[in-house]
């Protein structure tokens, strides 16, 4: 089944939101990335056809945005923020911890394909740094203990209860 057939309803819903088809490009690339973990060339071809774009038009857009993967990444893509506000509270130390614990540096993946590490810029969690994003989830106010627990959780269950919920900091006091 082609990509477009597989996600027929979702694609129709996305297209209905925009008066100009090309606006659906980024949303559709997200669907393709969810499907395979990265955006395959055939999905790009199909999307180009669907939106009446040329393949280079799709390619020029996709390569501008850092969140699209053009090749497979680890099951858990760890992205540590290294911008100034996080760096002030120890993000470089967090990167070192990950290097020692997983044996990978930025841009690398573990041999089992489980973890990849990237170092990224500000993710809008500067008051609760140091922080990282793993796949779709944020993890904030990292400590070494917390990092260990997160990695263990991910290995055993694929997710971790330490991830952030709806953000508010500081939190109201419960009385």
């Amino acid at each position: 089944m082609t990509f477009v057939e597989k996600y027929k309803d979702e694609i129709a819903d996305i297209l209905s939101r925009y008066p100009v088809r090309r606006s659906a490009l980024i949303p559709l690339l997200y669907v393709a990335q969810r499907d395979q973990g990265y955006v395959t060339e055939s999905a790009m071809q199909e999307i180009a056809h669907l939106l009446r774009l040329t393949p280079p038009q799709v390619y020029e857009t996709i390569t501008f945005y850092t969140m699209f993967n053009l090749k497979p990444v680890g099951t858990f893509h760890i992205q540590v923020c290294k911008s100034l506000m996080c760096a002030l509270v120890g993000s470089d130390t967090v990167i070192e911890w990950i290097k020692t614990k997983l044996g990978i540096g930025p841009g690398e993946s573990t041999a089992d394909g489980l973890f990849s590490l990237s170092v990224v810029e500000c993710l809008a969690a500067c008051g609760t740094g140091p922080m990282m994003q793993i796949n779709e989830d944020y993890y904030e106010q990292l400590t070494e203990n917390k990092l260990d627990r997160i990695l263990t959780d991910l290995r055993s269950t694929g997710t971790s209860p330490l991830k952030s919920g709806p953000f508010m900091w500081p939190e109201p006091v419960k009385t």
Partner: protein, 464 residues
Amino acid sequence: MAGTGKDVSSETLGEAGTPLFIVRLACNDPMPKHELILLKNMMQPGYTGSLADYEKTGGYQALRNTLGKLAPADVTAIVRKSGLRGRGGAGFPTGVKWGFLPKDYQGPRYLCCNADESEPGTFKDRQLMERDPHQVLEGIVLACYAIGSETAYIYIRGEMVLGSKILEHAIGEARAAGYIGKNVLGSGINVDVWVHRGAGAYICGEETALLESLEGKRGLPRIKPPFPATHGLYNKPTVVNNVETLANLPHIITRGPEWFAAIGSPPKSTGTRVFCVSGHVKRPGNYEVPMGMTVRELVYEYAGGMRSDKPLKAFIPGGASAPFLTPAHLDVKLDFEHVAAAGSMLGSGGVTVMEEGTSMVWAALRLMEFFYHESCGKCSPCREGSSWLVQTMRRIFAKRGRMEDLETLLDLCKNIAGRTVCAFGDAEVAPIQSTLKHWRHEYVDLINEAEAANLIRPEPVARR
């Protein structure tokens, strides 16, 4: 901790000698001495941000009292009278901006809610959207009504997956209750609201880059004029407003422009700001205070003061794009005029505090690396200049600098600022220019060390 409820207060971070305390103290300690507007609901323990919770606090009453009762032009007039200025960075008066839309234009107009929040140091829109999404949505519908738009897109940064899900859910609730969709509350007005996720590019927060991105293209800013008010999304009249700007609207409608205009530092900086305090303070976080509060009060009373006994050395008052200020500026009032007069800008409201012992060259380099990474590459002064700046800064920080590098830095800055397609060019030179102005000796010391050790060596040219 943000949302998990697990306590890590007793743990410390970092290698020996760098105790990085995480202090967990509640925010209404000290109790706010003034009324909260935007954070009021979410400060109630147990408030979930659901439609039912929002309605219980009077939510959507502003919309009910507007549709069929006020003309769109009246809403614009009220907002203009309130003095509300944009919270996204530039501080442009919101009602005035709306007034630029062509009055007689037949055809679609658009509202874009700028939820790209990627300015380092800023994390308020995330909280406003994730904790009280209906407050933002009500503001969006009110703005659509005022400008005659039937379609709004919320451009949210791609990384905020949770935020986009919360908004989608809230839109579903509002649609079912008749606040969004066809014939809103029986008024005959149609307003559709869609969430559109970005995909990881800081520049898409710039309003015209945002529009390009929303059209499915690379996020390259457009040359202005023409402005979005006449040629925006799909070349149609468009308003781009920040999340916090829009969230203020229901309150202004309900309580009146005079009430709002009396808060803060009237006449030019009215209302509150949600300041995002980060860095070396005891209690970093979001604090909503009336504009015009001094930095000293914000840092020492709200954010709990410095995290250790090291005194404050430097702060940034308005996100990464705002020039650094010194302890001599602690009594500067946090409003548009006073911060500008002190040589910086209020920008996005991100207040970052640095303690004594922080290298200013290092700090400026960190921010420069951000700007180098995020330059969209459309215009040469910014594209090439950011690369030169970052290489020169790296060289100086690695103690391979020469004295003439300082002139090179200043010269480059002068040739970038004001000569680019978008305001990113002005932003990227701010950290270097301001640290060179206030802490030139730190640059000089590093260079002297390099010269004394005879460490100056040619460096291979780094390529992107």
